[in-house]
């Protein structure tokens, strides 16, 4: 089998001393930022970007991917023990997970989450192996109209699925779209909003924006809240789940794997979306829905499985279509570009070592995380106790150095700081940063391909219904739009929001 031998080659590459070291480094850093509230995977991946400049491209992506799925494991720990989400995708675990912890079942919650994450990770990796090459072939048939409609669907999903009210998500999307128009007009080459500043001719750097919006604004937010984090849980309890636990949670873990893998593929998807949907589904199928909110294990195992599998399947659209579905993958997209590799339909054919090496590292990384999670839980509890003022000062320093090192340009530091302050103010208004960044990335993809399609079709909109792919995507987009305004679905959505 071609797939098997390729996979074996990838595993071998991932097992080289250097790559093994960077998988371990990636997942350990990921675990830690997952544990630490404030630092999520997106800013961390951005922070690590300069380190990857000197690495082999496969090793670079192995490191950054490890941080992402490592954070999915780590985030659970803070959510369960401290009732503070270590990162956004673990928000749902703050409810039932923390209830379990108060009942002396912290270990049980964390153990189930770790095993669920492991299984979900393997399922998503298997999909990456089996379907990504096929998806890549399919992606080659993606022309400008297909990309335009896909980006449109992505923009609609981003506005619909983000945390916060729809109105505020739409405002965020609008801000992202406007920011994206800064720089050269992609069709005519004329400058827009450059204000005579040469540094603005290419637009503002997306990595600097991400570092500011996610990293700096989060720190400002924490400082403003003067958040004190003190562990209230002394008794962690048994970490390894019993056979009965596993039987009771098998369904939740299985469903979580499928939901997470599927939602990772969607533009705007990823761990946050996966865990929210899994929580909703588990409550729906549960025989005892009244236990949800009072420490139901399935409310932890399902979502935690989903967020990890989603974090891995998000690599499918990046590696096959060149589409980063969320902020973390957008940074990884940038890392590949810096390495001189353009993610897109030809990536697997042109750079098989990157694709298969990263896939191999995901299997190894998930095994490492499972091993790390179970015995190291008490240790990670300590890390969450670093004084916030120390953590904040350190992170700001790292962000400034990181922003400067993107292009060796002080202008990007300014962009990062401005984005951080703006992001903080917007958060205070309840406007989430994620849709801004996603619209900032999807906007130019939509604009360029939309306008290019119209040039190719000589101005006829018929080009957008000329292939089965565009028709299916357009129907999906309209369905999402319709469901956003239908009262029944809107109520369901509001219920999920209320529980965030």
């Amino acid at each position: 089998m071609d797939v098997l031998s390729n996979f074996a080659g990838g595993l071998e590459l991932a097992l080289s001393a250097e790559n093994l070291l960077f998988v371990l480094l990636g997942v350990s850093v990921g675990m830690m930022v997952g544990v630490l509230p404030g630092l999520g995977p997106a800013p961390t991946v951005a922070l690590l970007l300069p380190i990857t400049f000197g690495l082999d491209s496969t090793t670079a992506i192995i490191l950054l991917a490890g941080v992402y799925y490592g954070a999915m494991y780590g985030g659970t720990i803070t959510s369960v023990l401290l009732r503070i989400p270590g990162e956004a995708a673990s928000v749902v675990s703050t409810v039932d997970g923390h209830e379990m912890a108060k009942n002396g079942q912290a270990g049980r919650a964390l153990g189930l989450a770790a095993i669920g994450s492991f299984i979900g990770g393997l399922v998503a990796t298997a999909c990456l192996i089996l379907f990504a090459p096929a998806l890549a072939d399919f992606a080659l048939s993606f022309g400008s109209p297909e990309y335009a409609v896909l980006a449109l669907l992505g923009l609609i999903l981003v506005s619909y699925t983000s945390a916060g009210t729809m109105t505020k998500s739409l405002i965020a999307v609008g801000i992202g779209l406007i920011l994206a128009t800064i720089g050269q007009d992609p069709m005519t080459g004329g400058s827009r909003w450059a204000l005579g500043v040469p540094a603005l001719l290419d637009g503002i750097d997306e990595v600097a924006v991400i570092m500011g919006l996610f990293g700096l604004s989060e720190i400002l937010n924490n400082v403003a809240d003067n958040r004190r984090r003190r562990s209230s849980i002394r008794n962690v309890g048994r970490v390894l789940p019993t056979g009965r636990d596993l039987r009771e949670n098998a369904g939740a873990i299985g469903r979580g794997s499928v939901i997470g893998t599927g939602l990772g593929l969607v533009p705007g998807g990823g761990g946050v979306l996966g865990s929210l949907v899994s929580y909703g589904v588990e409550r729906k199928v549960s025989a005892t829905p009244e236990r949800f909110g009072r420490g139901a294990p399935q409310a932890v195992s399902g979502p935690e499985t989903a967020n990890n599998s989603a974090s891995i399947s998000t690599f499918i659209p990046l590696l096959t279509l060149g589409f980063p579905p969320n902020g973390v993958l957008a940074v990884i997209f940038g890392a590949l570009l810096i390495q001189g590799v353009t993610p897109g339909p030809t990536l697997i054919a042109d750079h098989p070592e990157i694709f298969w090496g990263v896939v191999g590292s995901m299997v190894i990384g998930n095994v490492m995380l499972l091993i790390m999670n179970i015995p190291l839980v008490p240790l990670f509890v300590k890390i969450a106790e670093i004084p916030p003022e120390v953590l904040a000062a350190l992170t700001v320093a790292i962000l400034i150095v990181g922003a400067y090192s993107i292009n060796g340009n002080a202008f990007d530091v300014g962009v990062m700081v401005a984005a951080g302050i703006a992001g903080y103010l917007l958060r205070r208004l309840g406007i989430p940063p994620a849709p801004i960044v996603l619209a900032f990335i999807l906007g130019p993809i939509f604009e360029t391909n939309f306008r290019r399609s119209l040039i190719l079709s000589d101005g006829s909109f018929g080009i957008f219904v000329s292939s089965p792919v565009t028709v299916v995507l357009l129907i999906a987009a309209m369905t999402v739009l319709a469901s956003a305004v239908l009262p029944k679905v809107r109520r369901a959505r509001e219920t999920i929001e209320a529980e965030d």
């Binding site: 022309g143 400008s144 450059a194 005579g196 040469p198 290419d202 292009n407 290019r452 190719l456 000589d458």
Partner: protein
């Protein structure tokens, strides 16, 4: 991988050693490290070829040579930093003619003009070529132009304000051809659209990274070149001029090393001598790739002449 390549290239250049010793100029230049600003991202063809030449310059000048990427503004940021630096030979730039000439034409005041470059030698050239996919019905440029007389032919270009974009617009202006230029994202995007059949033809520079490998593999065919002289490595490819389309803007994409105009003459001579030794070294020519490295050294004065001609042509076509 990129760094491994650069390191390997560096080692190769050292082993092959650019024989002659540094020039015996009376000045004590260089007495410190020299930095070469590359105004485009690391990994681009200008960047990579500069990194191929830098170790040899280091050897020739007897001092460390640091390649620094200062990207942004289609080259405007890095070129601006270079233009404002001290004219002492310690801050040089490696830039394409398009990056040197176009931002001031398109944007006005960007902190430099095309007169702010005193070239000391050519690094690489990539002629603009007209490409079709292997399975295209167009067997020759005549076929394609005949089709463009009776109906629309879509032609992918790597951006409207790229050299090919400007050149194709000039072609449309000067003829009745119904060519529809479609801008894509760089040479990579243009090539992808060409190979997948989204556009009927592509008009782009024959660069070593994207175009030359696919021309060699037969995925695409070269129908014509927009430069005035036939390409040395592709002597059978007709020029557009020979097909009766003359008066087109300068269509050789080229990149060169430059100092500031006020740089002392002896410093410029030292640099030019070093460049001549490096650019005529066989190991460097083979690292740069056949069809990219000039077959003989093109000195500063000649580069300057071509740069001025290109800038004049661009200004006329865009303005």
């Amino acid at each position: 991988m990129k760094f491994a390549t650069v390191a390997a290239v560096g080692a190769a250049a050292l082993v092959a050693s650019c024989s002659a010793l540094g020039s015996e100029g009376s000045s004590d230049y260089p007495s410190g490290s020299v930095s070469i600003i590359v105004p485009v991202p690391a990994g681009s063809s200008t960047d990579l070829s500069t990194r191929v030449v830098a170790p040899c310059l280091e050897e020739e000048l007897g001092t460390s040579v640091v390649v620094e990427n200062r990207e942004g503004g289609s080259g405007a940021v890095g070129n601006g930093v270079f233009a404002q630096a001290e004219a002492d030979g310690y801050t040089l730039v490696s830039t394409t003619a398009a990056n040197a000439a176009l931002p001031p034409i398109l944007e006005g005041n960007v902190g430099y003009t095309v007169d702010d470059f005193r070239p000391v030698g050519m690094i690489g050239v990539a002629p603009v070529v007209l490409l079709v996919p292997a399975d295209s019905p167009f067997q020759s440029a005549e076929d394609l132009f005949a089709a463009a007389e009776s109906g629309t032919v879509t032609v992918g270009v790597p951006g409207m304000t790229s050299v090919p974009g400007i050149s194709v617009n000039a072609l449309i202006d000067r003829t009745d051809l119904q060519i529809e230029p479609v801008p894509f994202d760089g040479n990579g995007g243009t090539m992808a659209a060409l190979v997948s059949g989204e556009v009927q033809a592509g008009y782009m520079s024959a660069d070593g990274g994207v175009a030359l490998p696919r021309i060699e593999s037969g995925e695409v065919r070269v129908l014509a070149t927009a430069v005035t002289e036939p390409i040395e490595t592709m002597p059978d490819v007709p020029t557009l001029e020979s097909l009766g389309y003359s008066g087109l803007p300068y269509a050789d994409s080229f990149w060169f090393l430059a100092a500031q105009p006020e740089t002392p003459n002896e410093v410029v001579t030292t640099l030019e001598d070093a460049m001549e030794t490096c650019m005529t070294s066989e190991s460097i020519a083979s690292e740069l790739g056949e069809g990219v490295a000039p077959s003989s050294f093109i000195d500063g004065a000649e580069v300057k002449k071509r740069l001025e001609q290109a800038a004049g042509d661009y200004a006329e076509s865009v303005g």
